[in-house]
Amino acid sequence: MNEQTEQLYFTALSDAVLNMEEDTAINIAHKVIAEKIDAYRAIERGLVDGMNRAGKFFEDEEYFIPEILLCSDAMYAGLNILNPHINREHQRSRIKIIIAVVEGDTHDIGKNLVKTLLDAAGFEVIDLGRDVPPSKIVDIAIIEQADAIALSTLMTTTMDGMSEVIQLLQQRGQRESFQVIVGGGPISQGFADRIGADGYAPNAPAAIKLLNKLFGKNTYA
């Protein structure tokens, strides 16, 4: 198959994600496999490209939460089909991020957005979900030998849990093992500095840029 025809499939996958068309993403992903197009490139140039475009729409406030959630559904639907077909050479070691909403908070929309964009950006993400006790976050980060811990909260009442995570890391002599980043509605750079976090991001796309910066990449695109 020539490059131009392949590109048509990639564009169709990208558009399916951007246009929130889960069924289309599934159909095209199946065709990609049937046509023996490289699955890794279909993910990178198709699904991830679509999610990056959706992320840009989100930054520009053309898309909001409902749209971005539907885009990410389409991306994951395509990924489920294409992932098993990736060549081994592409299964490089990736930066591992633990992500969680701290204890007491059951809001996890922002966290889920960050997770989706991290997946799209090629990070390995371990999602601990919402309402997670600080000790559990630290335990799993250590066991998994993660590179970074990303914490989110939407409520002022649960911000203390973030500093508890950092204190626990210090107590166990593990503070230097992880980059810790924080975000969510009530969080600010000032708060991040106060609790000794490595970074703060005001929204999901900014969180990806922050991690890329901390780990020495330029952009997530």
């Binding site: 909001f64 939460i65 749209e67 539907l70 059951t106 002022t156």
Partner: protein
């Protein structure tokens, strides 16, 4: 000249009448002031007070007496409605507010529509109304604010929000059906609270922000059902305070469409500017809860002064207070308004 009661002052502010100074209140619900310091010194504690009308009333009184806020506010969470509608609730601890452990339904299509008359008599609505009656009897000079969860937030607390938000776009008919149902329940909750003597109904709708929904869906879902609820409360001659979370830039032009008598906003919103742009609006807010938790009394007093100078009609915290906020800081806020 301080013979005007806090109740009259708040009602005057909400009715756009002149007041000697702005009231300083804390609406309760998601924005309650049940800080650990008050609970420990009064002995009226959470989570017990979520389930007992006497305790709920006593804690509301203790908060008012110790903080200086010029109202009594109940309940102390935003899970009354979700629990009644079938979601699994963790009542939390002294320091941590109740939360939803598991939403009742997996999608709008699975929502079981129950009889509203029956529901009003069950769950914690009766605890809130009993506490309200008691507070009204013991404190005729103080406004009793009953706080409720807004329609979109209630719906998003009985259906997994990640699914519900998608359905707002993918399945508008299903989303509207659920929103009509929860709005009917909220209207009944408001009616029972007003029968019990509530002076004001406050609505917090944290899941229905402009940031989350964007302008089109904010209009279609948030404004629409908030206004249905507000109109029903107005028919009972009771004013409504509405708190909107988060940034409001994208939905700013829609704010004047909201029928609530006062609009309360988060700390990042320039409330003075909002008032300047929409002079008809009664504004409430918006002292940073971050400052209240971490700031000094001097800084808080200065920020409060600024809100007063900007002509904010009702002074209040901008968001939910952390339970570790100190009384000294809250008093710095209330006493600045009271000119003490």
């Amino acid at each position: 000249m301080n013979d005007i009661s806090p109740k009259i002052r708040l009602l005057d502010a909400l009715n756009k009448r002149e007041t000697d100074r702005p009231p300083v209140i804390c609406m309760g619900g998601m924005m309650n002031a049940s800080i650990v310091e008050v609970m420990q010194s009064s002995g009226y504690t959470l989570p017990a007070a979520h389930d007992h009308p006497e305790l709920m009333a006593s804690l509301a009184c203790a908060i008012q007496e110790q903080t200086g806020f010029e109202n009594l506010g109940v309940p102390f969470c935003m899970t009354v409605e979700a629990e009644l509608l079938g979601s699994q609730i963790d009542k939390g601890t002294l320091e941590c507010e109740p939360k939803i452990v598991k939403e009742a339904f997996s999608s709008t299509g699975h929502v079981v529509f129950r009889d509203l008359d029956e529901m009003v008599e069950s769950g914690r609505i009766r605890i809130v109304t009993a506490a309200t009656s008691k507070l009204v009897q013991t404190h005729p000079q103080l406004p009793v604010v009953v706080s409720m969860t807004g329609p979109v937030s209630t719906a998003a607390s009985i259906i997994d929000p990640m699914i519900f938000y998608k359905e707002l776009r993918k399945n508008p008919a299903g989303a509207h059906r659920v929103l009509e149902y929860v709005t009917e329940l909220l209207i009944r909750f408001a009616e029972e609270s007003i029968k019990a003597g509530a002076t004001v109904i406050a609505i917090g709708d944290p899941s229905a922000t402009g940031e989350i929904l964007g302008p089109a869906m904010f209009q279609e879902y948030a404004v629409r059902y908030l206004n249905i609820l507000t109109s029903a409360i107005h028919r009972l001659e009771t004013p409504v305070i509405l708190h909107i979370c988060g940034k409001i830039e994208r939905v700013r032009p829609l704010i004047p469409q909201l029928l609530a008598d006062a609009i309360s906003t988060d700390a990042m919103v320039n409330l003075g500017k909002l008032k300047e742009d929409y002079p008809g609006l009664t504004t409430m807010g918006n002292l940073s809860t971050y400052a209240l938790q971490w700031g000094t009394p001097e800084k808080i007093a200065a920020q409060t002064e600024k809100l007063i100078e900007e002509g904010i009609d009702i002074i209040s915290p901008a968001c939910g207070l952390s339970t570790s906020t100190t009384l000294a800081n809250i008093r710095a806020m209330t006493q600045t308004v009271q000119g003490a």
